[in-house]
């Protein structure tokens, strides 16, 4: 084992971690917001809105993220309308394209997860809320959203970990995050195994930290129901 090489590789790769985390947090944030809009359309009862939401979910869950990313990165610049619009300075940037496609894609998956959470809200609780005169936004904010989010959290945690892994694809549209830097190191040094191990370790640690944080959140949301603390569960 060549520890000098391993540590220099590790240092180079860790310098790319902020880029990965930035891609991850921006796409989770915007993807989550978009998912809320889509799930609201999906359960609105309006056939046009629900149909649009179904189509959105079908398209973004049914095709690979890579092709969506390439469509945005290479495809949009083909149109003069976009190239001469005020949006071009943003859409020209690889980072913006990567975040945009990651967010659009995760919104499709997240909308389905949120819908599952909403379906798990007992109709009796909604009836009870209505009977005391709650309606509209107050009903959603106080009753539906908290219960639905708690039910959706385990599946949403899985999706969040998948998103952390998906940020690796941004390297293919020339964003220098951890996988991109690792790939560059592999092609420069041909020491695949060492570089791979360092990069894999970084992702495993990131995913571990994210999962622990989500477990804590899950626990704090269900503590009043007598949940077992995550530290004791394992």
């Amino acid at each position: 084992m060549d520890f000098a090489f391993l540590s220099s590789t590790m240092v180079t790769l860790i310098k790319a971690v902020p880029t990965s985390l930035m891609l991850f947090s921006l796409s989770i944030f915007f993807g989550g917001l978009l998912a809320l809009v889509i799930v609201a359309m999906r359960v609105s009862g309006n056939p046009f809105l629900a149909g649009f939401a179904k189509g959105y979910i079908f398209v973004f869950r049914g095709s690979p993220l890579l092709i969506q990313m390439f469509l945005i990165f290479y495809g949009l610049g083909q149109f003069g309308v976009i190239r001469y619009s005020f949006l071009w300075p943003f859409l020209r940037e690889p980072v913006v394209c990567a975040v945009l496609s990651l967010a659009l894609c995760t919104a499709g998956y997240t909308a389905e997860i949120f819908r599952g959470g909403i379906r798990a809200v007992s109709p009796k609780e909604i009836e009870a809320a209505r009977s005391v005169g709650m309606s509209g936004f107050l009903l959603v904010r106080r009753i539906i959203a908290p219960i639905a989010f708690r039910h959706a959290l385990p599946a949403y945690s899985t999706e969040i970990v998948l998103m952390m892994k998906s940020t690796a694809l941004a390297s293919l549209v020339t964003v220098w995050e951890v996988t991109g830097v690792a790939q560059r190191l592999i092609s420069q040094t041909y020491r695949t195994m060492e570089v791979f191990l360092c990069a894999a370790l970084i992702y495993l640690v990131l995913n571990f930290v994210i999962l622990q944080a989500l477990n804590l959140l899950e626990y704090s949301l269900s503590r009043h129901r007598g949940a077992i603390p995550p530290a004791l569960k394992a």
Binding site: S63, G75, G77, Q78, F79, T167, A168, A200
Partner: protein, 241 residues
């Protein structure tokens, strides 16, 4: 040249090229699923074995291959496989560089990843078999091997179909990443067609649409298989599993 001509099957059309590539995507995914089934069954049996060491290694396998980006694993197998092969060839007295065929590297990588997911599917399916049935089989004197063949395998396969359907969809989308090794599957074919005609938007839309066709067709196949496997089960029980 119009878009229709570019997508057609004529001299300048890319239609046949894309369809053949879609078949390549199916081939990579099917090979990967088969490799993953073997690995997944091994890992699942390791985790269910009751032995602490085996169970630990099974756990490590699923954690690593579900926690590391797919792209990184593809790079590892493709580049790592090439340096491994070259080293083996040199030790046997051949010089030069030996690459790993991109189809082999790609399906192996996607297969190893799908193995981690399939292990969880098989484990869940095994745990869903009612304990009473295994006890009943033991009580009438079936040996371990016979119990495995007659009671466990048929039920695990039936209960695993929905989960395997999900893994198939996942692998189908992961197979797009194999394009980085230069294998001409649907993703790479769309890239090549887009690059040579400069019609990026159109070819990525068409490539994406072909993926949608593949995913929705395979959804139907798996739903049909699930119905067929459950045809002898009472319908109430289907609702439960």
């Amino acid at each position: 040249m119009t878009g229709l001509q570019l997508l057609g099957f004529g001299q300048n059309g890319w239609g046949a090229w894309l369809l053949v590539a879609a078949l390549m995507t199916l081939a990579v995914t099917a090979t990967a699923l088969a490799i993953g089934a073997v690995l997944g069954a091994l890992v699942a049996s390791a985790r269910l074995s009751g032995s602490r060491t085996l169970s630990f290694f099974g756990h490590v396998y699923t954690t690593i291959f579900r926690g590391v980006p797919e792209l990184l694993i593809i790079y590892l197998i493709y580049f790592g496989g090439a340096s491994g092969l070259t080293a083996i060839a040199q030790s046997m007295g051949y010089d030069g560089f030996f690459g790993m065929p991109s189809f082999v590297a790609g399906s192996l990588a996607v297969g190893i990843i799908s193995g981690a997911y399939q292990a969880e599917v098989f484990r869940g399916a095994y745990q869903a078999i009612p304990k009473g049935e295994l006890e009943a089989a033991a009580a009438i004197g079936m040996s371990r091997a016979l119990r495995f063949r007659r009671i466990i395998i048929p039920q695990v396969l039936r209960l695993a179909i929905p989960g395997l359907g999900n893994v198939w969809q996942l692998s189908l989308k992961d197979s797009a990443l194999v394009s980085v090794t230069g294998l001409v599957e649907l993703m790479r074919a769309s890239q090549v067609a887009a690059g040579s005609t400069r019609q990026y938007f159109m070819f990525y839309i068409v490539g994406g649409a072909l993926y949608l066709v593949l995913t929705s067709l395979s959804d139907r196949v798996f739903n049909g298989a699930e119905r067929k496997a459950n045809r002898s089960m009472p319908s109430a029980a289907i609702g439960k599993v």
